[in-house]
């Protein structure tokens, strides 16, 4: 193979690798965006359980965060990627004796990242819960709102505003953690860059490109979150 210039390698098309990396970037963004709502929802309920007066709820939620914050992301990922098919297979074979089950790496990544993201975001939500004075609940009950209405109309808007900066941090961690799913063969940014590096032998170039992609995604997210933060109007609550 003749020595190709860097610009050919980075071009768009059959000779270049930009299109492959771009499709990887789309997978990265899709994975992160798909994880976000699931992780936020679970995280909110875990935090809700953690500050509940019922001890058994607190215990269950604390076990959840201890496990998923204590395990390395990679170990959780491998456990699910290799373990889940085994369990599913046992279940499925009760009905169809000769079925085989394969877990898509995107789905495995989605589940694992949701578990990890939710355990991180639950800590953020928990400290936001603690920052809301009890009087807000009492005020809600006093004007005749039900528990659920108080939560939805009074607590949640304040909670989100307080938790937002912490959640931004969790989002950045999530964005970086999506790269780990590349080790179970999900064709995301880092994996596609790795393929390009192996084929062309320009490892430094392509891994730099992958790192830059993540850097740009981080910068874009902080611009976006800055915009959201301003439109949330932090000042009006003061």
């Amino acid at each position: 193979m003749p020595a190709q210039s860097i610009w050919t390698l980075l071009s768009w098309g059959p000779d270049g690798w930009s299109d492959d990396i771009a499709s990887g970037v789309l997978v990265t963004i899709a994975l992160a965006l798909a994880t976000l709502p699931i992780g936020l929802t679970i995280g909110f309920f875990v935090a809700f359980a953690k500050q509940h007066e019922e001890p058994s709820l607190r215990l269950a939620a604390n076990i959840y965060t201890t496990v998923f914050r204590g395990l390395p992301e990679l170990v959780t990922l491998f456990l699910f990627f290799f373990g889940m098919p085994l369990i599913l297979q046992h279940l499925v074979r009760l009905i169809w004796p000769d079925a085989t089950v394969d877990v898509d790496s995107f789905v495995a990544g989605l589940i694992v990242l949701s578990l990890i993201f939710s355990s991180y975001s639950s800590e953020v939500f928990l400290s936001a819960f603690r920052a809301i004075p009890k009087g807000q609940y009492e005020g809600g009950y006093a004007i005749g709102l039900s528990k659920w209405q108080t939560m939805r109309l009074v607590i949640l808007p304040q909670l989100l505003r307080i938790a937002f900066p912490g959640l931004e941090n969790c989002w950045l961690i999530l964005l970086k953690d999506t790269s780990l799913v590349s080790v179970v063969n999900l064709a995301e940014t880092l994996r596609n860059a790795g393929v390009a590096a192996r084929v062309t032998k320009h490892s430094f170039l392509f891994y730099s490109v992958a790192a830059l992609v993540f850097l740009v995604l981080a910068i874009l997210s902080s611009i976006a979150t800055g915009y959201i933060l301003r439109s949330l109007g932090r000042r009006e609550a003061r």
Partner: protein, 274 residues
Amino acid sequence: MSISQAIAVERPPPQARGWPRARIVGYSLVCLWILFGLGILAYLVHAWNGEFFAKYAPAYLRGLGTTLALVTTSMIAGAILSLPVTYARMSKNRILSGLAYCYVYFFRGTPLLAQTYLVYYGIGSFRPQLETVGLWWFFREAFYCGVFAFSLNTAAYQAEILRGAIESVPRGQWEGAASLGLHKLETLRKVILPQAFVVALRPYGNELVLMIKASAIVAIITVYDLMGNAKLAYANSFDIQAYIWVAIVYLVMVEILRHGVEWIERRITIHLKR
């Protein structure tokens, strides 16, 4: 009468009796966790394989040693490296602080896995140049590459922790020390850092835990640390207990560290308690 009334008022509300919905949900979730734990235990007992254990337990122990060596070396190297970065970040020189900001931003904004690849495969691809400089022996070894990438990464985080801790000490402390005639370095050593350390302890502990968890990444660049040995054991046996055991070891390690840091924090903040 008034006293008994006051006591009656200040008493916390009585625990809800019977079975409210929250309690039912809570108990069932705890039961679910217990079942889950028992299930894993039952699996490990059921799949107990003396041969497997005898074959891989020593490898896991060696892997644990590698992991601990990697984390300690990188934490210490990172701590040393974070000093000039913190200094640059806090200096009034715009260029210097800008450079330090870029350094910190790069290492905090990109995945550690990408950084590790960049060092191991990226820098490793310049073999002829490295050989002429005489650094090839360093970048040839996956372990050293891991240490290199992890040190650079943790240095960026530790620099931010250190900066935050130093800035959390009020300015009056600097001024007070200056009025006593202490020069800057002495002020830093005797007045600022002891107070900054109390603030920084928990973030440092968190960083250590994060490093232990992140160290599993080096298994992918062929280092046989704890995770690397688990991967090897799984590849040879296709037995999922390879990963279950390693998960338990990591979990125990992280929990011990977390409680240790909490204990130290309780000890060194005794004078702040009212």
